[in-house]
């Protein structure tokens, strides 16, 4: 009877572990989109990615006085994720401490399991936030790389706006190839959608809604990003 209970517990733990590990793998694949799959924990970015012969450091070219930043809202949409990610660590610690006390005081299996599930959930949330942050950093650094390393010659020395542009906030930008580009207000874009949503296709364009804000895809450098746009027809 005791042996049966032990082996049942062992099987249960094995199944749980398999599910947890499997879901982690699925999550990694989902983030990779159509790609071969990537680990969310490693960033592809950095100065060596540029393959630049000059290897200029961004700090060497960063302007002393930075341009105006009236569009910081977009960055702030992403910023809370970073904050939240930082806040999770003490919460986890607190939960672990509480869990230890509970085990000692009560020693009940149910509570331990519940705590483990809570930890797993916290871990998953943290992972998701880190994924987003990694992707964001990667894209930002990609932009920074090209601006500083390949925008050589005359272009290079006049790129005082690089820091803001690379931070995913467009200051003084236009959508290329549109007749009203010069007169239109500068577009605002995010490198990662602030929510998980599905695309709505209207007239051949995919629209994404987060809260009350609509986005459509656009190129910012080599990266496909999400530009704030008006609601699609019929919405």
């Amino acid at each position: 009877m005791i042996i049966n209970r032990k082996s049942s517990l062992l099987i249960l733990i094995t199944v749980l572990l398999t599910i947890i590990m499997g879901s982690g793998d699925l999550f990694a694949r989902r983030n990779g989109g159509g790609r071969g799959g990537r680990s969310a924990n490693f960033s592809r970015s950095g100065v060596a990615r540029s393959g630049s012969l000059s290897g200029r450091s961004r700090r060497q070219t960063r302007p002393a006085a930075r341009p105006q930043r009236q569009n910081r809202k977009t960055a702030n949409q992403v910023q809370p994720n970073r904050k939240a990610s930082n806040q999770i660590q003490p919460n986890r610690q607190k939960n672990q401490d509480r869990s230890a006390q509970t085990r000692e005081q009560r020693g009940t299996r149910d509570q331990k399991d519940r705590q483990e599930w809570q930890d797993d959930r916290q871990e998953a949330i943290k992972d998701r936030q880190e994924d987003r942050q990694t992707a964001l950093n990667e894209r930002q650094e990609d932009r920074q790389d090209f601006i500083e390393d390949e925008a050589y010659g005359h272009y290079h020395y006049h790129h005082d706006w690089d820091d803001d542009f690379a931070a995913g906030v467009v200051v003084g930008a236009a959508v290329a190839g549109t007749a009203a580009a010069a007169a239109a207000p500068p577009p605002t874009y995010v490198t990662v959608l602030p929510c998980q949503t599905i695309a709505i296709v209207r007239n051949g364009t995919s629209y994404y809604k987060c809260g009350t804000t609509w986005y459509q895809r656009c190129y910012a450098g080599s990266q496909v990003t999400y530009m704030v746009t008006t609601a699609p027809p019929g919405n």
Partner: protein, 253 residues
């Protein structure tokens, strides 16, 4: 006594001349390669790229990609890239339009731009923000740019470990240590860049294969055809002060 002094002096002189000759050889070899590439009317090559991405923890992780390039001067360029994670993209310039395409996202953009390959690369890299590793190798101003950048150069060795004997050159500059392996045909077979001022001193490594200075170019080579079901999306460009793009040759806006 005098004899011994003379012998030592002559030996030192030979060493000095010898080392300078090697340095001169190294520079000459590198500039020879640069001039060969700059003067080529057309070429195609495959670049197998690897680079170190230094993580926040300090751990160095290697990532890679393969790039197939074909250039027909004055104004045609095609780059097909595939990252190690499978992300596939392309850039095609036909003299009038820069077409970007992400096969992974199944989107493309068309940015009007008139000019030659040199100016298109500068525009794509400097204005549009397209990542073009070793972009300088693709422009006709490569010899002058290399000469400006080059610090001390040295001939490392004749590398006979591969199929072809290659001249291994090492050049130092303020921020980057460059190593190049150049064939007798004055084409690079391998380039390694070390970003010595960056944390972790990451490296960029490119192996060049399938060099062809007379590639087969068909009417469709530089024509962009959107993949089935691909969505056309806009490109965001930063607005730059009007005078920043002046006096750049071929810099059509």
């Amino acid at each position: 006594m005098v004899k011994r002094f003379l012998t030592t002096f002559l030996l030192c002189l030979f060493c000095l001349i010898g080392s300078r000759a090697y340095a001169a050889d190294a520079k000459a070899l590198l500039l020879g390669m640069a001039e060969n590439l700059a003067s080529a009317r057309q070429f195609s090559v495959t670049m197998k790229i690897n680079y170190d991405a230094v993580q926040k923890s300090g751990q160095k992780i290697e990532f890679g990609e393969t790039r197939n390039l074909i250039i027909q001067r004055p104004n045609h360029l095609r780059v097909e890239a595939r990252q190690s994670d499978g992300d596939a993209s392309s850039m095609i310039f036909d003299g009038k339009t820069i077409a970007l395409c992400s096969r992974t996202e199944n989107v493309y953009s068309l940015t009007p731009y008139s000019g030659d390959v040199d100016s298109a690369i500068r525009y794509a890299g400097g204005r549009m923000g397209i990542r073009i590793p070793l972009a300088r190798l693709l422009v006709t101003t490569l010899p002058e740019e290399l000469e400006q950048m080059m610090g001390p150069a040295a001939y490392v060795e004749k590398d006979v470990s591969g199929k072809l004997p290659l001249d291994h050159i090492a050049v130092r500059s303020d921020a980057v240590d460059l190593q190049a392996w150049i064939g007798a045909d004055k084409l690079p077979r391998r380039i390694v860049l070390t970003y010595k001022n960056a944390p972790g001193e990451p490296q960029f490594r490119a192996d060049f294969t399938n060099w062809n200075l007379s590639p087969k170019i068909g009417p469709e080579t530089f024509v962009f055809t959107a993949p089935a079901g691909a969505e056309k999306i806009p490109t965001i460009l930063p607005k730059i002060q009007a005078n920043t793009l002046k006096d750049k040759k071929g810099g059509a806006q």
